[in-house]
Amino acid sequence: MNEQSLHNSPEEAVEKTSRRKGKAGARPLESVMQLIFFICGFIAIAFVLVITIYLIISGLPAIREIGLVDFLFGTEWASTAEDPKFGILPMILTSIYGTAGAIVIGVPIGFLMAVFLSKVAPRRLANVIRPVVDLLAGIPSIVYGLVGLMVLVPFIRETFNTAAGESLLAAIVVLAIMILPSIISVSETALNAVPKEYEEASLALGATDIETYFRVSAPAAKSGIAAAVVLGVGRAIGEAMAIMMVAGNVANMPDLLSSVRFLTTGIAVELAYSSGLQRQALFSIGLVLFLFIMCINVILNVFLKRDKEG
């Protein structure tokens, strides 16, 4: 009984929708629901707007006081010193290097994994691996940080004989692993969407399987794979918790084996105890990070749009 009524409801809804304009007034429930949908839709937009406005309002005063050039290109961060310095260039560069490093390591692995899952692996094996990859996506970032701290950090310290293993390298490796799931699943979806005819034509012309994957499937899926990379960039640049545990958090100019501070960790490490201009400067860092992520989202949208059109 219930099963049936559930099945019916979508059709009813369609009917109602088609009559909506004419009879909205006659159906109070309809207009109430419509209002609720409108409000819910508006809430999401409102949050984005409020956050944007709040970040700009609270981020600008410090930039104005410090000076945009000194803030963005200053190489020294000493927020509580007698003569405070608020240069975030080390953090900007660290975030860029760290993200780039994670992409350099994570994308080839993720892409090959996606090719494996989509084309090479027997269906049964792929069905086992796919949930495992999804599980990787579900692990909380603090767990990545913890494992990095217990395993990776001592390993780096002993291998390179440094004072402490917390370093840009450790952060890059952790980030690379963290962005794998999104790269794999988005690339795999893109590869699966490549029309079978392309591959069959390629094989019929005498190309080997491997040639077909790299010369035909991958180029056909390239905007989807690019979207995967941008998604990975977005996740890597926004991550704070995991890398706070393995990066050492000193605002040095980035060096592979020294302790570094990312934009995200720059905020997280100092926010709790900050006050005055220092706190305002942290909001300014947030604003810079927000702009970075906005740019990444715009790029992502461009790729996705091209994917739809092409």
């Binding site: 004072a163 402490a164 917390e166 000193v250 490490v269 100092e270």
Partner: protein
């Protein structure tokens, strides 16, 4: 199938809601005002026959909001519990937001008492902040248990933190680089440490962490590391070194022989009258009655 999915979704969202409620309760610790033990019935029923030295014979009621140093969490927890026995109707709230914001908030009038784990600056005093020292806390210098260096002078510590000494062999230890661990720039412990050792703004840190626990964890996991932490936070996973030949302990902090120590301050504002409940709490915290609680929290009372 659909029905099952619906049920599952409902169950999941219920579970999430329950989780949220549980989380909400832990953000702010409240004094167990109504949990006065039965054995102390005379105290809670007839405050007139209260312990002799308590200044407020009348039972007070109300809320005292305190806000500030996270280092003072243990002291405040002990205060809340004991003051709850003396004045069961007074609720003392504590939120750990950091010394800086505690002082800012009390000056702004959003809380009754601000909590600071460092002495107030002249700037803050000029704004009207008043310093009431309720406890002394030693800052311990901690190393990994594998480290053979167990005694440092204040000068050596300064040299380590400014980067003049970079290898343990220079201090009679193993030939290994020193990992200098510290707190974030806004930390009260870091402020206290750098001021006492005389290395303000001159420290060359290998790693910085945003909590004392992470510093201890990092030192415990790295044989090359040296760090600093509240004496009360030091546990068996690390070794607190002697400073100028004096081991950090409650006794050496109280008599002033241990060099690296800082005050725990309750901040009030000059000219602003506290509520009766808040005044009673402050008076009690400053009295000898509270000394046991201060000691229970691993600190040393200046009022004992």
């Amino acid at each position: 199938m659909k029905k099952m999915k619906k049920l599952l979704a409902a169950a999941l969202s219920l579970a999430m809601l329950a989780g949220l409620c549980a989380c909400g309760g832990t953000t702010e610790t409240e004094a167990p005002a109504s949990e006065a033990p039965v054995s102390e019935a005379p105290v809670s029923e007839a405050p007139q026959t209260d312990t002799p030295e308590t200044e407020a014979p009348a039972a007070l009621s109300g809320t005292v909001n305190t806000d500030g140093s996270t280092s003072m969490a243990d002291v405040m927890a002990a205060f809340q519990e004991s003051f709850g026995d003396i004045q069961p109707d007074v609720t003392v709230n504590y939120s750990g937001t950091g010394s800086g914001s505690g002082i800012t908030n009390v000056l702004a009038g959003t809380v009754d008492i601000g909590l600071s784990s460092r002495a107030l600056t002249d700037e803050e005093k000029a704004e009207g902040a008043v310093e009431n020292i309720v406890a002394l806390d030693g800052v311990a210098i901690v190393v990994n248990p594998e480290n053979t260096v167990t005694n440092l002078t204040l000068e050596q510590i300064a040299q380590i933190y400014t980067g003049e000494i970079t290898n343990w062999s220079e201090l009679g230890g193993a030939d290994a680089p020193i990992a200098v661990i510290g707190r974030d720039a806004a930390s009260g412990t870091r402020g206290a440490f750098e001021e006492i050792v005389g290395v303000e703004d001159a420290c060359v840190y290998t790693n910085e962490y945003e909590s004392t626990g992470e510093v201890i964890g990092s030192v415990a996991g790295n044989p090359n590391a040296i760090g600093y932490a509240s004496l009360s936070a030091v546990d068996d996973s690390v070794v607190a070194v002697q400073v100028n030949g004096v081991a950090p302990s409650e006794a050496t902090v109280a008599d002033g022989t241990y060099a690296i120590q800082r005050p725990f301050v309750m901040v009030t504002v000059e000219g602003t009258e506290l509520s009766e409940a808040a005044q009673a709490f402050l008076d009690w915290a400053m009295s000898a009655d509270a000394a046991d609680e201060v000691e229970a929290a691993g600190c040393v009372s200046p009022n004992a």
